[in-house]
């Protein structure tokens, strides 16, 4: 991680037995990994698990002391393949990524891993990006666990439970020779809480031991006939072993008072929200002492038949609280109950909405429906669901959505401003998008982009549009993150091989910006742990693209526009790539702000640039905003008493990237924009020049003032 320091967090990873850890859920997971004696950790950054990756990147000294190898994997597939180290050796390893997108990418390796099984504990920590704040398709990781037979943990969202899930997860994995997936929802990753730490553990069996005394076992390799044996082994050996361990270790919890004839089964991760909803009905208290029987599934796959029997026997009905769809657990429960010949009714989606996040309001409504049907006296006269918590739609016209957007000074903004200007000249083109900050182009004010098919797949998703029947080309966009993740092969290599005539814009901002600014191969930062400074152009030309243009400063809208225009109109046939370079402004500011302050304090010459709009020249049309969308370019009351439309206004947060001025110029908009340079500690020559200029300017200005004063 280049521009941020996590030294304070690293300190928390060093806590000793008995000390109290305070911090975020995902950081607690990091600490739990160290307490479990892992030998290697790998992953691909992304919300909500980026923090784990970032802190480990800064904790290299500690990891070395513990003999742990930490990798920034090239992709989630790479991370998953890393777990191969646990196949033959008693090495504990963990990987992490955002799910389900990361799990999609990792699926091949995960399936192979799960088929052959593991010797050392293998833990897959997935940040389940579902519900509010999510930026991906709404799916469940649960399906991956089931299809490959990977056990799925979904612990209660408090730090002690999460930490215990990590520790027990390794044991479960080893007891059943099966990889284990730990699912953490976004809020659980970011929850602040505390737990009592244990000492970090250095593994007895080291990576070096494995490398120096390699072992192979052909029965663990996915190739016939072993692959057929694996499937039998999964059901005959590993499943029973897992069920055994889960029951023995008491991973699932039976809470609440036991004598009612209805009960609730809940995914561990939803426990806190359920408890709050129960509190609303007076059925639980702040300590989670529920008046109804509760069966908390901290392991959501596999479901333990015996435990289901124990919980459901004698109950008329149970409510299954299961977020997302399809409702795999509910299906599973019904099957188990049918096979056990119990008469319990399993209610789930019957009372819950089929799709969407289960907020406390949703939970309260479903609970109300369930209780009204099976134990109406418990709803305490709350017979009117209208009294339950709900939203207020009367403000819908006053409250606008505020989707995320390019940051102030973002170097990607001018790329899309240029695209808009080219669109005015050459007409609209099919624009194929990718995953990354640049995808914000699909929103106002740019409204550019027709589809996105996944990380690094920007160019691949325009592959069909390759026909001699039209002169018009397609434009694809790919970030540097996506490029190195797989875009180089799936996009660029594919376009070369299939003789595509399309245009690709690679946004090279020196980081995987959308995931928090981590380094990649083409980053220009010096990183002692990783190899950087590998130019994207070399890779592209290496796979056979011969039309490459590099725009070294995206802020030059004019250059960006001519590169795009040339790519779209040139007679050259074959794939065309524009590499648009400028450093991610968020990270650049983190890097240079403290540096500039320090230099100015020490008496060095420092220039701070800022843009502004002359409100008496601005006429309030806001074309500039429509072509820019910069957060620091806003509007304010018109100071002119004769005008009513608000004028454009540059806020103090401006970082002086110059985009608004460039756009005003390139689009021939208006002369309202100006740039100021504030020079701290100017040179003597500059002082002298400025003094002379000021005398003359002052004189002429005073003449003018005299006329105006009349």
């Amino acid at each position: 991680m280049a521009e941020r320091s996590f030294r304070q967090e690293v300190g928390k990873l060093r806590l000793k037995a008995g000390e109290e850890f305070r911090g975020e859920g995902i950081l607690a997971v990091a600490k739990a990994l160290l307490q479990s004696g892992v030998s290697y950790v790998a992953g691909y950054q992304g919300s909500p698990i980026s923090h784990l990756m970032d802190v480990f990147a800064d904790a290299n000294d500690l990891l070395m002391e513990l003999g742990i190898r930490f990798e920034h994997s090239a992709s989630e597939a790479t991370a998953a393949a890393t777990l191969a180290a646990s196949v033959n050796y008693p090495l504990r390893g963990a990987i992490t990524f955002k799910s389900t997108v990361g799990t999609n990418v990792a699926a091949d390796a995960l399936a192979n891993l799960a088929s052959g099984g593991v010797t050392g504990g293998a833990l897959i920590i997935v940040g389940e990006d579902y519900g509010e704040g999510s930026s991906i398709m709404q799916e469940r990781s649960h399906a991956f666990a089931m299809k490959s037979q990977i056990w799925l943990l979904d612990p209660r969202p408090d730090l002690p439970s999460i930490v215990s899930a990590v520790e027990r997860g390794f044991e479960l994995s080893e007891a059943s020779n099966t990889p284990v997936m730990l699912e953490l929802r976004v809020r659980a990753c970011h929850v602040h809480g505390c737990f009592i730490a244990k000492d970090n553990v250095r593994a007895d069996f080291a990576l070096a031991d494995a490398m120096e005394r390699p072992v192979r076992d052909v029965s663990r390799i996915v190739l016939p006939p072993a692959s057929f044996l694996h499937e039998r082994e999964k059901v005959d050996k590993r499943w029973p072993a897992a069920i055994n361990y889960i029951q023995q270790a008491g991973l699932n919890e039976f809470l609440g008072e036991g004598n009612a004839d209805i009960g609730i089964i809940v995914q561990g991760g939803l426990f806190n929200t359920l408890n709050r909803a129960l509190e609303l009905f007076g059925l639980s208290d702040v300590f989670g002492r529920c008046r109804l029987p509760l069966y908390v599934l901290n392991v959501t796959y596999p479901i333990v038949d015996d435990e289901v029997r124990r919980f459901c026997s004698g109950k008329r009905a149970v409510l299954m609280v299961e977020e997302g769809q399809p409702e795999f657990i509910e299906h599973n429960l019904n099957t188990i109950i049918r096979r056990l010949d119990l008469s319990t009714r399993v209610c789930g989606k019957q009372f819950f909405p089929q799709a969407g996040e289960y907020t406390a309001s949703v939970m309260a409504r479903a609970l109300h429906g369930f209780l009204e049907t099976y134990q109406p006296e418990l709803t305490q006269g709350r017979s009117n669901p209208e009294n339950l918590p709900k939203c207020n739609s009367s403000l819908d016209s006053l409250v606008h959505p505020r989707p995320p957007s390019f940051c102030t000074g973002c170097p990607e903004r001018p790329i899309f401003s240029a695209m808009k200007l080219v669109e005015r000249e050459l007409g609209q083109h099919h624009v194929s998008c990718d995953i990354g900050c640049h995808l914000f182009s699909i929103l106002p004010p740019f409204n550019i982009g027709a589809a996105t098919m996944g990380y690094g797949l920007g160019w691949a998703s325009a592959a069909a549009f390759n026909t001699p029947d039209t002169q018009r080309r397609t434009i694809s966009v790919m970030g540097d993150g996506g490029f190195w993740h797989n875009g180089l092969t799936s996009g660029v290599g594919n376009a070369v091989f299939n003789k595509s005539d399309g245009v690709l814009v690679v946004v090279d901002n020196r980081y995987t910006a959308a995931t928090g600014g981590q380094d990649i191969l083409s980053s220009t930062a010096q990183n002692s742990l990783r190899t950087t400074n590998q130019p994207i152009e070399s890779a592209i030309s290496g796979v056979g693209v011969d039309w490459i243009r590099t725009v070294r400063r995206t802020y030059s809208v004019e250059q960006m526009r001519s590169a795009l225009r040339e790519a779209l109109t040139t007679k050259h046939s074959g794939p065309k790539v524009i590499v648009a370079q400028s450093e991610c402004m968020l990270n650049k500011q983190r890097r240079i702000k403290p540096m500039m302050r320090k230099l100015a304090r020490e008496g060095h010459r420092v220039v701070r640039e800022r843009f502004g709009v002359d409100s008496d020249v601005c006429t309030g049309d806001h074309s500039c905003i429509r072509l820019s969308g910069c957060p620091s370019l806003s509007i304010k009351d018109n100071p002119d008493p004769l005008r009513r439309d608000p004028v454009a206004h540059v806020m103090d947060s401006c970082v002086g990237c110059g985009h608004c001025g460039e756009v005003a110029q390139a689009a021939v908009l208006c002369p309202s924009f100006y740039r100021t340079s504030i020079i701290s500690n100017p040179t003597t020559w500059e002082r002298f020049k400025s003094a002379i200029a000021n005398v003359l300017i002052d004189f002429l200005q005073k003449q003018n003032e005299r006329r105006l004063a009349q």
Binding site: L395, L669, P671, S677, I697
Partner: protein
């Protein structure tokens, strides 16, 4: 909601320090021996999107009948059960209400009254802003207690961030079982920018007790015209109704500034005929006179290169910029202006015949004008603009002047003709001047829209409610850049 749990929802936009505020509250509570939990769903919303941070503080006993028990705290706010909502901006306060987080029976809403405009508001071609007063009214209605002040301004004044001011306001409402000292100690323990944060905290704290919702809408500036305009001022005071004086003075100053005293005389001459019509057909409020005076002054001070250059070299501009960027005494300030004049703008300020020739000749096609950046704070740059501004003396002979005068007179004639039969429509018609704005392509588009709308006038006059129809057309012309909305509105006629 259980007793002993205080729930706080913080609505902020990415980068505003909502996370810092949540961290402060948690640290404060934990340090005081309470159990606190916070969480959020930042994700990509960190890139300027709307985010909610949620904190719960358990203030009750940690053991029940000798048994140590841990409270189960919620990871998301429950509509109707939130004690304190903190919104870093007014529309975010609206969002909190929309989401049901603010309830009449229990919620204290702390919201900053300043606005960070949404993209929808910003990209409107006219004025797309939501009325803040409506949001404030909704907030007062929804909350049990509504605490509101311009916390962004307080933050700026104390050289800190809004999070520190909001922290102060939270202390000010005195809903957590903690003292002011404890809050301040939390800031000190944070260790970064302590002094400015404490100042901001104090400002926020104090605002709660002598705040109130301030509504500062400033009227037009009340500066008096200078001595050279004295004769004309007298004329105004004698023959124009007092209700129009303030506006007329503004118009006069504007035009004297723009051109000269004679030009102001022409302005008043033109308005006199409107005044006559208003006396005959108006309702005594002189709305037609005032609106015409406003738009005519704007039209007569149309923006040509001379005007722009003139405004760019003003002393008060230099002073304003220096103040805005906070340039200190030992720092140097350089100002660079961005221009992209087209051949049309050059022809505009040439003598009319020459300008016309230039535009029709083949030279115009061959001249490529590039964008240029002029350093106005340098001698060279300043003089360039000074010379252009000096062309003011010859403006009356310029091509653009001829064109604009002809058009504005036609506009006035239309207003007069309409006023005799339909006073309200005449007022709506004055508004059409608003369509012509901007420079270059924008100006061109505005002009075209204006012509289109005016061309529809005969058709509009035959409608049931001509005034409303005209207003509709103007609104449609400002709805989008492509002109689709206007086209649709015209088809509907």
């Amino acid at each position: 909601m259980p007793n002993k749990v205080i729930s706080i929802a913080i609505l902020a936009m990415g980068g505003e320090g909502g996370g810092v505020l949540a961290d402060w509250i948690v640290e404060l509570a934990e340090h005081a021996g309470y159990i606190a939990q916070s969480t959020s769903v930042p994700g990509v919303a960190q890139r300027t999107g709307a985010t909610i941070y949620y904190v719960e503080i358990y203030t009750g006993a940690k053991s029940v009948s000798g048994k140590n028990l841990k409270p189960v705290l919620s990871l998301m706010p429950v509509p109707g059960h939130v004690d304190i909502v903190i919104a870093s901006e007014l529309m975010e306060a609206g969002r909190a209400i929309q989401r049901g987080l603010v309830s009449r029976d229990k919620t204290t809403l702390i919201a900053s009254s300043h606005r960070v405009y949404s993209m929808t508001e910003k990209i409107a071609m006219g004025d797309g802003r939501i009325d803040s007063r409506q949001l404030i009214r909704a907030a007062s209605d929804a909350a049990n207690r509504f605490v509101c002040a311009d916390y962004a301004k307080l933050a700026q004044e104390s050289g800190s961030l809004i999070s520190a001011v909001l922290f102060g306001a939270l202390a000010g409402v005195q809903l957590l079982p903690l003292t002011r000292d404890q809050y301040e100690a939390a800031i000190r323990r944070g260790g970064v920018g302590i002094e400015s944060s404490l100042a901001a905290f104090a400002a926020g704290f104090d605002s709660v007790n002598h705040g109130g919702t301030s509504d500062c809408v400033s009227g037009p500036g009340s500066s008096r015209p200078g001595p050279a305009l004295a004769k004309l001022v007298k004329r105004i005071e004698q023959s124009f109704p007092p209700a129009s004086h303030e506006l007329l003075f503004v118009g006069m100053i504007r035009l004297a500034d723009y051109q000269d005293v004679d030009y102001v005389g022409e302005y008043i001459d033109r308005l006199e005929s409107i005044l006559g019509l208003d006396n005959l057909h108006g309702d005594g409020e002189y709305r037609l006179l005032c609106e015409t005076a406003r738009h005519l002054a704007l039209w007569m001070s149309y923006e040509d290169a001379i005007r722009v250059a003139d405004l760019k070299i003003r002393k008060r501009r230099f002073e304003r910029i220096s103040r805005d960027v906070g340039c200190k005494g030992d720092q140097l300030l350089e100002i660079e202006d961005f221009f992209h004049p087209r051949i049309e703008e050059i022809a505009d300020i040439m003598p009319a015949s020459l300008g016309r020739w230039l535009l029709s000749s083949r030279i115009a096609l061959r001249i490529k004008m590039g964008g240029r950046v002029i350093k106005t704070s340098s001698i060279r740059g300043f003089l360039q603009l000074y010379v252009v501004a000096g062309l003011r003396r010859w403006r009356r002979g310029s091509l653009r002047f001829c064109v604009e005068q002809k058009r504005m007179l036609a506009w006035l004639e239309n207003i007069k003709a309409v006023a005799t039969t339909d006073y309200e429509l005449a007022i709506s018609l004055t508004e059409s001047q608003r369509l012509i704005k901007g420079y270059g392509d924008t100006h061109h588009r505005g002009n075209a829209n204006y012509e289109t709308v005016l061309g529809a006038l005969p058709c509009v006059r035959m409608k049931d409610r001509p005034s409303a129809t005209m207003e509709n057309l103007i609104r449609a012309a400002l709805a989008d850049e492509s002109g689709n909305a206007l086209k649709k509105a015209l088809q509907a006629l």
